[in-house]
Symmetry: C2
Subunit: 560 residues, 2 copies
Amino acid sequence: MADRTVLILGGAQSGPSAAARVRETDERARIILIERARDLDYADSGFAYHLSGEVPALDSLRRGRGDLLQDVYRVEVRAGAEVESIDPRQRRVLVDGQPLEYTALIYAAGAESLLPEVPGLGGAGNVFHFRTLRDLEGIVRRLGTGAARRVVILGGGAGGVDAADGLLRRGCDVTILQRGPRILPRFSPAMSRVAADALVKAGGKVVTAAEVTAAEQHLSSVSALRLANGLRIETDVVIVAAGLRPRTALLRKAGASLLADGAVAVDERCETSLKGIYACGTCVALPHAVTSEPAWSTQAAQADKSAQVAAINAAGGKARMPPVTDTILLRVGDIALGRTGLTRDEAAARAGRKAAAITVHAPCRDPYLREADLVTIDIYYHRGSGRLLGAEAAGRAGVDKRLDVLATALRGGLTVDDLGGLDLAYAPAYAPARDPVNVAGTVAAAVRSGAAPALSVEDIAARPGAVTLVDVRSEPEPSAGTIPGARLVPLASLRDGLEKLPKGKLVFFCDSGQRGYLAARIARQRGRRDAGFLSGGLRSWRAAGQPVTPPVPATPPPRP
Amino acid sequence: MADRTVLILGGAQSGPSAAARVRETDERARIILIERARDLDYADSGFAYHLSGEVPALDSLRRGRGDLLQDVYRVEVRAGAEVESIDPRQRRVLVDGQPLEYTALIYAAGAESLLPEVPGLGGAGNVFHFRTLRDLEGIVRRLGTGAARRVVILGGGAGGVDAADGLLRRGCDVTILQRGPRILPRFSPAMSRVAADALVKAGGKVVTAAEVTAAEQHLSSVSALRLANGLRIETDVVIVAAGLRPRTALLRKAGASLLADGAVAVDERCETSLKGIYACGTCVALPHAVTSEPAWSTQAAQADKSAQVAAINAAGGKARMPPVTDTILLRVGDIALGRTGLTRDEAAARAGRKAAAITVHAPCRDPYLREADLVTIDIYYHRGSGRLLGAEAAGRAGVDKRLDVLATALRGGLTVDDLGGLDLAYAPAYAPARDPVNVAGTVAAAVRSGAAPALSVEDIAARPGAVTLVDVRSEPEPSAGTIPGARLVPLASLRDGLEKLPKGKLVFFCDSGQRGYLAARIARQRGRRDAGFLSGGLRSWRAAGQPVTPPVPATPPPRP
């Protein structure tokens, strides 16, 4: 048998990883890597860290595989070459007019940024995407000249927020313009707000419902953006992070099956509908761990995994793509924020009335230590089976760890009861004995068992006056305020104060939820079967932007 | 039906948690908590943090549930009371001579420290265990007076190492005397050495194979310890951390089934062999997630979970104890160190010849960031099924996270292939796109698939000269040295240099293992079917205390 020729289209991200893995699998294969641009194999996830100055040398973001690829992996690298077409029947591509035959082809062309249709935006020298080293170089060059420090970012998705974080650390004057009602729309509304607050705290501006109508140019640069509401924002640099699209035109022309969003459908071997053509990276849709349905992901970590699977199979080995949990993590100002599994909306769509959610705010370390910041965790689960469906987390420390545990739990098909009992690593500096994940699991399991219903902020805010809210904190801080209309009954006095509370539904709350839950359990066992608690307590209430009032002084508890 | 009386024996750790959970479950129960000592509910895991000064006020370590227990949870607390006997047939205990009836009893007496039989140790005023607030107060009082700063710790298990870490941070002159050949014997020999090195780097002394023959007393204090080898160590304070024993004498007398180590056997409801008597905390043996066999654990996080399960069942609810993975995490000098699941020896005992292990050293963050420290991960797995059996981890950052992922993976029954594909949260500041857990899983999966055998340091050190060692680093740092007798063939020259290598088994290595693995794959595909790689590379070799020599200058690679 003649040696195999493996052709890899795309050298920015997944292509070089795939090339290396092909070589590991088949020492004799001829491997050719073709990339349109001049730059090979760079870490685009690190761009914000160059903007911030944490990675001073841009060259550090090159993975430096150029030499490694040729010397160690013996890959023929053709940078600056353009593939014009793919002929899957003849197993041949046309590169710069020349035919090139392959045994297997790995398609790794990635995703491309969308440019919004704004008059005046095209052709300006200070408008950049945030995808390539050239983009990054351009941004830095513009910001390096004179006093230029105003940046407008079009788009408040993960890419825009990531760029904003890096630029704010650099000291730039950053404005995010988001078309929709909130940034990070794949997060819950409360988490979107947490992220926006963190950006504002770091000095940024976030404008939602922003419809950009025109860009004013001056000397071939955009000098200001005009919004439909009359706002005019002057700027030195515009970064367009208004969405991505899988770069799959070549595959489409070749006849491959694409999904509606343009992502290429692959099987668990990462092979497309065209025999001998594999695909990987940010242009493919991969089976989701919860739904098993193909889901397009632009996450670098997943792109890397599909590159390995595509490569092993293209090289004649055997590998199967692991299910994707769609995990994402962002650094935003002084917090980290992330999610894994189904979003809140996806969980609701999938589980219908069986979809359930709880929120906890729990210390990331033993609370007697300084810096025992709270981690906020939302978990979405199936009320019937108890199975975890998705999760979000935010906080100043320990967020990444809890997301990883939750992603692993999703992979293992664990239930909320399992989360409550997870035997996680405990030492005071790193985690409390009851880890936030344990707390979230325990609360969800208790709610599921019927111990007490958890109400969300939306449940309560949607129907003002429908329930009696009871603040059970023993010492509400005056500055913290409370929910308007709430009665104050400290937990220690609850048993005696219970009969004085009006009939109808009672919803107890405290600072973070724990004592509210306990109050609901006490009340329910004492005949108030209609009692529940506010999930996440006053912290979630405030985080959702709901109003708080100064607390009314508590009635002194009756002497026993 | 009369209200239930739940009696809880033990108020230091798990007892108060159990009491609270009984109340949550049964609002009407009478709950009585009995504790011999005066102190209730303190965080013994935080003792080292008080010694270090990180928790300045000792009172911060009291969970302050005294009032909460009585006012909110309505628990009758009887501190300083001694239970003399338990009559399981009559459901009655004798407390300070008075009978007390119960509906359900929760036994939470914990574990007690062993005192080694050393002449002169007993009765001294400066000899302490490291279990109670009184111990901690005594240690601090002694160290607070004058220039006393020399501390000898008898025992190099987790408790002794934890105490040593706190005292070293305080600036004390700390010596650990360990009877056996190494500290932390439940860790692998390499990890024990990592921990010992970290203690020494922090200014501590570690003496292994230390047989203490006598304690010299002066003014009712131990002034020096004498060892069988003639060593004499002067000291101001002695901390005895020479092992624990479940405090189960009362249960034994009452007829409960105990295991050989004295731990009480409980079912998944945490009920003992005596009906109506539940047990929790550090005196029980719980089913292990991997073996399903009962395993005694002294971990605070597990103790807390069993307290909740025992309490819910004792109060008439339903709860099942989750499987225990025996996870432990320690802070030692500038590193964290932990393990989960089966130990290396337990994995070998369970899986026999199917037991396999690999070691990786992988960056905890994207490598272009400063502080991208390496995390060392050992994973133990079953060669046949691929199932993860246990893991250890150490490093300066990110160790707790990887242990939690591995503990969750154990709970979900994941394989090493699954670990390779876990979709973990990626952002450069928190983790690389290929997380160290992914790397460990990928390497183990590749080894398991037959891509190349992984040899351990012990494999090689045990039979010097049996294999040809090949250092494939391109630029070995002169200071790093290499394995004595190793040949230097940079990876880029390997294909040309392969035929010059002697016949017989080849073992390739690099700094951490990755290029060694790749070299083995190249060599095997080029006809050297006997090629393998050193798992963990030169880092593991050095960490195991094996000798290194200055590297021999590389032969210039032949020109192509």
